[in-house]
């Protein structure tokens, strides 16, 4: 009965975003790409005579990222609620089971995990990592996944995730401030909002593990609307 319940949860999450464990790093990649693109667009604006082809391609990329973020927003709103009802140890079990499912393992590893839910076999994780690698062999967006998958323990994985968040946050800030032209008020405002968003995302991650309430989704939508406006202004230049 316990096992069946867990399987259903894994299925739901896998359908949503290919597994709970990969959400943070994929989001980070996407966020980083969005940051990079917005900086490029602003540089386009600053050029006397921008390359129109390049500007349009970058603007289309930004729109694509925003579209995907909007779609993910729906799932993002639901997940904390389901997590909220589960104790921490169950969350840990779910994490391990999700990886097992992604690895397409048989029942044998499952029964192993049932015997020792808080422990993970050293031989199992490399296999899962390998499968993960094969699934996205050439996608640079998933490059960060493989090292994490191969970590010895869940604790180290979590530490790695938080460490990456902090590094990315710091890197983003440096990048934005070094390149941003203060004379462009609208974009500056939006970037400030984005940084707030980034912090919210980090806090949200922490809160979800402590079963806290999620942030309101309306803030996210208004931010996206602002981004759309900025992108349109830049493209028109």
């Amino acid at each position: 009965m316990f096992a069946r319940g867990l399987k259903r949860k894994c299925g739901d999450q896998e359908e949503g975003v290919e597994g709970f464990g990969t959400v943070p790093s994929y989001s980070l990649q996407r966020q980083s790409l969005l940051d990079m693109s917005l900086v490029k667009l602003q540089l386009c604006h600053m050029l006397v005579e921008p390359n129109l082809c390049r500007s349009v391609l970058i603007a289309n990329t930004v729109r694509q990222i925003q579209e995907e973020m909007s779609q993910d927003g729906v799932w993002h709103g639901m997940a904390p609620q389901s997590v909220e009802r589960a104790p921490i140890d169950r969350l840990v079990s779910t994490e391990i089971l999700c990886r097992t499912v992604r690895g397409s393992e048989g029942e044998h590893p499952t029964s192993e995990l049932e015997d020792s839910p808080l422990q993970s076999s050293a031989s199992e994780l490399p296999i899962v990592g390998s499968a993960q690698g094969q699934r996205n062999p050439q996608s640079s967006l998933w490059e960060m996944d493989n090292p994490q998958e191969n970590r010895g323990s869940l604790q180290k994985s979590l530490d790695q995730i938080f460490e990456t968040l902090e590094n990315k946050n710091s890197s983003s800030v440096e990048e934005l401030f070094s390149d941003v032209d203060s004379s462009y008020y609208d974009l500056d405002t939006v970037l400030t909002g984005m940084m707030t968003g980034t912090k919210s995302s980090l806090c949200n991650g922490l809160e979800s593990f402590t079963a806290a309430a999620p942030p309101p989704s309306s803030t996210c939508k208004s931010d996206l609307a602002e981004l759309d406006h900025v992108v349109e202004i830049l493209v028109e230049t």
Partner: protein, 447 residues
């Protein structure tokens, strides 16, 4: 010479100081004329250099690729648009030769905004003994002339004169990326990011807009024109490519304004390769009709494709240029390399295609044998008659001697501009500020 499948090349190069690259010296376009006797290059400094094949070289097997500097002139100067307060760069974006119709040669050159028609003439004789004008060219007082004197033409050293014949200005709001001479030899087209204009070669103050993809609201702009070319035989047909990977064939007899295409050539996207960079890498950077007029060759960031004019659903051939970069698209996006516009070229019989890559590599694909080769344009291979060795880029696994790994590629050395002689296996490769000319290796059995 017959079709030689031996892809080794003997090279002749025009080298400059490699350690110091002046931005103005960077070559931005390379073009053979219709006979292959002349080769023109344009650079970012607005200059055009014309090379001429040495007359003796045509009959000597080992030196068929010998070209020498024939003429150099300043085609464009930096300008300032006072209305918009914008500087206009002098960089030569394209050069196109007109078919030769008399003793003189003509070519069109363009920067971002202005197209110029140049006439190239030779002079090797001067008149002497003319007694109706003084040395300053003024007409003498006829009362002082007591005899009739017929001037005699005396030989002098060959002089090449280049003179501007037409300046076609104010036709484009956006940056001109292509010009193409019509097979009727009377008209030509120019294309910028959003519009294509048709000009008559003798009329400079009027052009006809034949394609306009500018949306009513610029915020709705998601696609731009990237390249355009007339059909080599049918004067009513032209093609233009887009930043979304499609090609549109237009028929000027069907309508004066060709915003509605006659044929749309597009390839469905492979979902397994879908990424945030899919659209950027599908942007077409060059399109060329085959000499036969039956096919079109296109280049996007990672591949060259051959399309049949009678099949719009997908290309009939696709060749990977540097597929090993697919795993590095994020860093190439960060460094802006992903926006590099590589050109492509057909050989004279449409059986081989060529395009450039990074690390001063260029690639050739034989459509009949399906063999491909990677060669490098470098100073080490620049000695006259040196034979080029094939290069290989290894992606992990075993690495042979002389192989280069993906991580060692130099992305600042890129072969963007290449040209193939219209009739023979002679190619011109522009590597930043150096021009290399390679020819087929002559088989010793021929002697």
């Amino acid at each position: 010479m017959g079709e030689d499948t031996d892809t080794r090349k003997i090279n002749h190069s025009f080298l400059r100081d490699h350690s110091y690259v002046t931005e103005a010296d960077v070559i931005s376009t390379v073009e053979f004329n219709h006979t292959g006797e002349l080769l023109a290059t344009g650079d970012k400094g607005g200059r055009v250099v014309i090379f001429q094949r040495e007359p003796e070289s045509k009959n000597a097997p080992h030196s068929q690729g010998e070209y020498d500097v024939y003429s150099t002139f300043q085609s464009h100067e930096p300008e300032f648009d006072y209305l918009k307060s914008l500087e206009i760069e002098e960089k030569i974006n394209k050069i196109k030769w007109l078919p030769q119709q008399n003793a003189a040669h003509s070519l069109l050159s363009t920067n971002d905004k202005t197209i110029k028609l140049w006439k190239i003439t030779e002079r090797d004789k001067r008149p002497e003994g003319y007694n109706l004008k003084d040395e300053e060219g003024k007409l003498k007082d006829l009362s002082t002339v007591t005899s009739l004197q017929v001037p005699v033409l005396k030989p002098m050293d060959l002089m090449v004169e280049v003179s501007p014949r037409r300046i076609f200005a104010n036709g484009h709001t956006y940056h001109i990326n292509s010009i193409s001479v019509n097979s009727d030899c009377e008209t030509y087209m120019s294309a910028d990011d959003l519009r294509i204009n048709l000009w008559h070669l003798a009329i400079t103050d009027r052009s006809f807009n034949i394609v306009d993809i500018k949306p009513a609201n610029m915020e709705d702009l998601t696609e731009v024109i990237t390249a355009s070319e007339f059909h080599p035989h049918h004067c009513n047909l032209f093609v233009y490519s887009s930043s979304k990977g499609s090609l549109r064939l237009c028929d000027m007899r069907a309508a004066a304004l060709c915003d509605k295409h006659s044929k749309l050539f597009e390839e469905p996207e492979d979902p397994s390769n879908r990424s945030f960079f899919s659209e950027i890498i599908s942007s077409v950077s060059d399109v060329k009709f085959s000499h036969s007029g039956r096919y079109m060759l296109t280049r996007d960031y990672l591949t060259v494709k051959v399309w049949d004019l009678n099949m719009e659903a997908r290309p009939i051939e696709t060749y990977q240029v540097h597929d090993y970069l697919r795993s590095k698209l994020c860093s190439l996006y960060e460094s802006d390399c992903i926006f590099d516009k590589f050109e492509c070229a057909w050989n004279g019989s449409d059986s081989v295609i060529m395009t450039g890559a990074y690390n001063n590599f260029f690639r050739m694909f034989d459509r009949n044998t399906k063999r491909d080769v990677t060669l490098e344009a470098s100073r080490e291979s620049s000695k006259p008659r040196a034979v080029l060795k094939p290069r290989r880029v290894c992606v992990g696994g075993k690495r042979r001697r002389d192989d280069i790994s993906v991580d060692s590629l130099d992305f600042t050395k890129k072969i963007l501009h290449t040209a193939w002689h219209p009739a023979e296996n002679i190619i011109a490769i522009a590597a930043t500020n150096n021009l290399y000319i390679f020819q087929d290796k002559v088989n010793s059995d021929m002697h």
